[in-house]
Amino acid sequence: MSAAGHALALQGLSKRYGSFTAVDDVSLRIERGQFLTLLGPSGSGKTTILMCIAGFVAPTAGAVLLDNRDITALPPEKRDFGMVFQGYALFPHMSVAENVAFPLRVRRMGAAEREAKVRAALDLVQLERFADRRPSQLSGGQQQRVALARALVFDPALLLLDEPLSALDKKLRAELQDELKALHRRVGRTFVNVTHDQEEALSLSDRVAILNHGKLVQEGAPAALYEAPRTRFVADFLGKSNFLHGTVREAHPGAFAIAAGGTRLVQAVDRDAPRPALSMPVLLSLRPEKIALLAEEDTADNTVEGRIVTWSYLGAGFAISVATEDLGLLRVTLPSWGAPIAPAEGMPVRLGWSAAASVPVAEDAD
């Protein structure tokens, strides 16, 4: 299993059901060997896009290109893509080994070669011992690995995964995330994964494409999306965020200041970014973990005072809600080890963050 993956491109892909648009003009490039995740809320069109790539759904407009070859009209069985379905879709009347051998059988591969490949694929997902079991005799995690082995055994050009981990409990999911990532590195294939779990998207992928209402909202490396969301939707969907409303009061190269109620907030921007117009309304996204609790003598670019309304202990950290006069309720997370305070309801606190901690984001169109 050493052949390199293939590059895939979607060009202006749209899918309409009657007057309803499930996928709206999505263009996307996936380089060979990359792990791309389609991330979005329920009904945002993730599965539909994946089904267009797999060939089960014919797009209303646009094209699917594999290494620059148009495959939009190719039926699914001719595409040679491995696919792991939501719920795995293992054949219940076949043993694990027969399930994995199925794609090889339909390709009329000789028995000796087939057996060797099946064994290698089961080795890959560490299921050699279960070859003779039925899928119903396996745990959820084992079934998921059988589905992976079956999708990889015929050296597919591309591996498509539709919420491969959603049926598993949290701990197992984390374990299999690591396995999936290691597997991707080992086989060097192009993976396209669908999920609505943002943590999974961040931890697994080389690139994440965020979808909403069938539209591609933003695409990029996980860290870039997390640190520089372009819209309120992205900031809110990928991780948690506080949103600060204000109007521009001063604009300098590399920074501007806004008034949010009676509070002045400083926002760092690129030196060569266009300066915002004065008194323009802006929206800032501020991650909870980038806010610090300030002691009496501490200073920061931005400071605000408030009272703790609620707090919860999460093991590794505290999640605290602080009511402020000008900025409303602010969510703050602190590592619990070495926390400067023991939080209590009604406790007055002073919060601070640097000018580079927040990012300006656009309000969503709808």
Binding site: F56, P76, P92, H93, F102, V106
Partner: protein, 281 residues
């Protein structure tokens, strides 16, 4: 332990009245029939001897088995095609299909048999059409023979074949079929390697149901066979009502009951019988 046993007894008491009623009106007469087959005209096994010595008895049994096998095979074939079509149809279309399958069940078996007679007789619609189009010169003998019986019985049996098969086809996850295609299987391979094996329990269940049902068929063979081709049920009634040979008639009835119970016993090892009779579906 004791408490659980007591609760069990309580439940059994509840069905006691029904049990007594069944014994009095159902099991007792059957046992009586069984007894008569050993006692009439004189005590002994001579009625059962006829199974091995009488050519006419053997002929009836073979005719019945042949007709039932052919009927079952044809009903399964037609029923499978119909069930397949219905299982893959959209919800709205599916309801109409199911209705179309069920409607014949509400029409009296007598009416249906006579309808076939009018269609298939020498001056019937089928023969007339064939002669007018010049395909045949002489009318074909389509009724009062085994052909007519099989036509009538298949028509009667198709809904009974469709329902268990449809139930087991509906249980097949459509994603399995999509998955198989995604893994490189052609439509035909998807059918033969995934759909057919997964619908096999329904196929077997339908086969058992149709075969057992056919064994005891009376009205349809009596009308469409025209008294020339005798199946077991008609033969029994002939022995008892016309020839007053109670011993022979009850012997055959006993054989029929035993044959049905044996078939069920064999297949209960292969399929879940509750599926055959509907509660499993």
């Amino acid at each position: 332990m004791a408490a659980a046993a007591q609760r069990q007894t309580g439940w059994w008491l509840l069905i006691l009245p029904a049990f007594l009623l069944m014994t009095a009106f159902y099991v007792a007469p059957i046992l009586q029939v069984l007894t008569i087959s050993f006692t009439e005209p004189q005590p002994g096994l001579q009625n059962y001897e006829r199974l091995f010595t009488s050519e006419s008895v053997q002929r009836v049994i073979w005719t019945t088995l042949r007709i039932c096998t052919i009927t079952t095979a044809l009903a399964l074939l037609l029923g499978y095609a119909l069930a397949y079509r219905i299982a893959l149809a959209e919800d709205r279309v599916r309801r109409w299909w199911i209705l179309a399958v069920l409607v014949p069940l509400w029409i009296s078996v007598l009416v249906r048999a006579f309808a076939w007679v009018t269609l298939l007789r020498r001056q019937g619609l089928v023969n007339q059409t064939l002669m007018e189009t010049g395909i045949i010169a002489e009318p074909l003998q389509l009724v009062w023979n085994e052909f007519g019986i099989v036509v009538g019985m298949v028509h009667y049996m198709v809904p009974y074949a469709v329902l268990p098969m449809l139930a087991s086809m509906r249980e097949i996850d459509p994603r399995l079929l999509a998955a198989a295609r995604g893994l490189g299987a052609s439509r035909f391979t998807v059918f033969s390697r995934i759909f057919l094996p997964l619908s096999a329990p329904g196929l077997i269940a339908a086969g058992v149901l149709v075969f057992i049902f056919s064994l005891g068929f009376y009205i349809t063979p009596a009308i469409l066979g025209g008294g020339k081709t005798l199946m077991v049920a008609e033969w029994i009634s002939l022995q008892i009502l016309d020839l007053i040979r109670w011993g022979l008639g009850t012997m055959m009835a006993t054989v029929l009951v035993v044959a049905i119970l044996t078939t069920l016993a064999i297949f209960s090892r292969v399929v879940d019988l509750r599926r055959v009779f509907g509660s499993g579906a």
